[in-house]
């Protein structure tokens, strides 16, 4: 029964992956929110094992989830390569795992440009994971821009907002 459920969710994931692949090769079709459609998977023992939840929670590198950037930049600094490497390995070892990368920006500049900049940051992390063999279907990139940033930060403190956060759907 548990195995059947897992198969079901795997099937759902691959269907979503197929849909995703289909979408990107064709012009825009009916609007839809993919994150709303997939939802959270139930975490029973088998799923937890398949997702390697214990590893996700216990591993020091995997528990690091934020990649920080310079002002108006989205290139990944060398100091984050180990963190990204660990997450790539985790995703490669656990095919059902799905990651959502949320890009952010500090308040300076326009709301719209910062939305684009946050997106560039989440895509930069995704590209780095792709380069390490992670499948596109395992990663979703979104941006919050400056909408949840500290609107009163000064100088270096604003750096806290220039980041991409790695989250896993299962969590």
């Amino acid at each position: 029964m548990e195995e059947l459920q897992l198969k079901k969710s795997l099937l759902l994931l691959s269907l979503l992956a197929l849909l995703g692949a289909g979408c990107s090769s064709t012009p825009l079709d009916a609007p839809g929110d993919p994150s709303a459609a997939s939802g959270k998977m139930g975490v029973d023992a088998a799923t937890a094992e398949a997702l390697g939840l214990e590893e996700l929670r216990g591993n020091t590198l995997l528990s690091q989830r934020s990649v920080f950037f310079d002002f108006n930049k989205y290139d990944i600094k060398d100091e984050y390569l180990d963190l990204i490497g660990a997450h790539a390995q985790y995703l490669n070892n656990h095919a059902p795992a799905r990651m959502i990368i949320k890009g952010n920006a500090d308040y300076r500049g326009s709301h719209e440009y910062n939305l684009s900049l946050g997106q560039k940051r989440s895509v930069a992390v995704k590209d780095a994971l792709n380069a390490l063999g992670v499948d596109d279907s395992q990663i979703e990139t979104i941006s919050y821009g400056e909408e949840y940033a500290n609107q009163e930060c000064q100088a270096d403190a604003c750096g806290q907002d220039r980041r991409a956060d790695i989250t896993y759907e299962v969590e």
């Binding site: 839809g32 929110d33 440009y113 684009s116 997106q119 990139t141 979104i142 941006s143 949840y148 609107q151």
Partner: protein, 430 residues
């Protein structure tokens, strides 16, 4: 004496007189010397219920534009309330080039309607430029005063005034409550048209005045709605994969340019206002965002980091031909085009300070018109003579204000103590 009688509460004007003509056309961007000294004489008769009096409203309207220097009329003995027996020598000695006089009377004791009769007088030429009478409800006191400002403005500049227009903005309370609000251009008579717990950004008023498009994070990611201002009903314009943002209306209000991250990077698309006919405008690996539709309907200005740093570009929607527009400075964002297509305003990073800059699109001359350090969201008034923007009050709380395009007058719009951001300006309507 010429009278134009406007019946405000019917929304139409009944007038019997000559068409409006421009007396002195002011050269905009002319510098301090061109500020016209004008005295708005306290109107005789009834006063507004609470709040400002007519002459104060008119003074404050004209003062915002940076084209007028309203003179202090306090303590003037026997202020005139009509253009009869004007002491030209006295006003001339006060440096007044023009004066506005008027009176407020009860028009109909039963309906409670008021009438405001006023004149604009040229002190140098010693003659009346125009006299008019407005009739309206008592509650329209401010609206009538703004109409007087519009008329004075049009007579003296040759351009329509924007004192009777509306603005919209986002109010943010404790990072938890967001509302989209509509108000008179000077912040009075504000009312929320949307309340939500998630961020709202980029409201844009349709040129026909009927709708506002905006971006909401209600669906845990940015999607674009269009809200009808008359019915209050809203429709989802864009909820595609990824982010949906930066709506910009076409001049005919039939289409919008929007930004999607459907293919990962922010790219500009055009879409019909009913959600059909989506089409990608151009492709690049760089950020393309903040579209602003030029009044010719063919060019879209946008910001992009395709050259490394963000700059303003324009693209022709028919042939995708792209040209760079801003060259001064290393960081230019948020283009807004004047309604005659001749002026561009944008946000520029001037050595760490974010200021509003204006560029003449014919001469390409650039002038910084705000001081920073954290100004944002510049948007043109519908006559292209004023700019609505945000600044940080005491370096902290974001507020809205106007700056005249000659940079002379920067004044706040007071709509409360919350964070006020992401403004837009409605069109001129009758």
């Amino acid at each position: 004496m010429i009278y134009r009688i406007y019946s405000l509460f019917f929304g139409i004007l009944l007038l019997f007189s000559t068409p409006i003509y421009a007396l002195e056309v002011i050269e905009i961007l002319g510098g301090k010397a061109s500020e016209i000294p004008i005295a708005i004489v306290p109107f005789d008769g009834l006063e507004s219920i609470g709040g400002q009096k007519a002459h104060q409203i008119i003074s404050s309207d004209l003062n915002r534009t940076g084209l007028f220097r309203p003179l202090n009329t306090l303590g003037i003995s026997n202020p005139p309330s009509s253009d009869i027996n004007i002491n030209y020598t006295k006003w001339s000695a006060m440096d007044a080039q023009f004066i506005v006089v008027g009176k407020v009377e009860s028009e109909n004791p039963i309906s409670g309607n008021i009438k405001i009769t006023w004149s604009l007088i040229d002190i140098f030429k010693e003659k009346t430029v125009v006299s008019m009478r407005y009739i309206g409800k008592k509650s329209q006191y401010r609206a009538i005063a703004h109409k007087v400002s519009d008329n004075v403005y049009e007579h003296l500049t040759g351009s329509k005034g924007v004192f009777h227009t509306k603005i919209a903005y986002v109010k943010k309370v404790n990072n938890k409550k967001y509302s989209l609000n509509v108000a008179d251009f000077d912040g009075f008579n504000s009312r929320p048209i949307l309340n939500t717990t998630q961020p709202i950004i980029s409201p844009r008023w349709s040129p026909d005045g009927e709708k506002i498009a905006y971006v909401s994070f209600e669906k845990k990611k940015p999607v674009i709605y269009i809200q009808n201002l008359r019915t209050g009903k809203r429709t989802l314009l864009a909820n595609f994969k990824g982010n949906n943002s930066a709506p910009a209306w076409s001049p005919d209000s039939k289409k919008l340019a929007i930004v999607l991250t459907y293919n990962q990077n922010s790219q500009i698309y055009t879409i019909n206002a009913d959600g059909s006919g989506i089409k990608q405008l151009m492709r690049s690996n760089a950020i393309n965002t903040e579209p602003s539709w030029a009044p010719n309907g063919e060019d879209i200005y946008f910001s992009s980091n395709r050259g490394g740093n963000p700059q303003i570009y324009k693209v022709n929607i028919n042939d995708d031909e792209i040209s760079r527009v801003t060259y001064e400075g290393k960081y230019n964002l948020s283009p807004s085009i004047s309604y005659d297509g001749k002026l561009l305003i944008f946000l520029t990073n001037d050595q760490g300070k974010f200021k509003v800059a204006i560029q003449n699109l014919i001469s390409n001359q650039v002038l910084k018109i705000s001081e920073g350090p954290a100004d944002e969201s510049p948007i043109f008034a519908p006559n292209g003579h004023l700019v609505l923007f945000t600044y940080k009050d005491y370096g902290k709380t974001t507020k809205i204000g106007t700056v005249s395009i000659n940079g002379l007058k920067r004044l706040p719009i007071n709509v409360g103590s919350s964070i006020i951001q992401e403004p837009t300006w409605g069109p001129i309507t009758n």
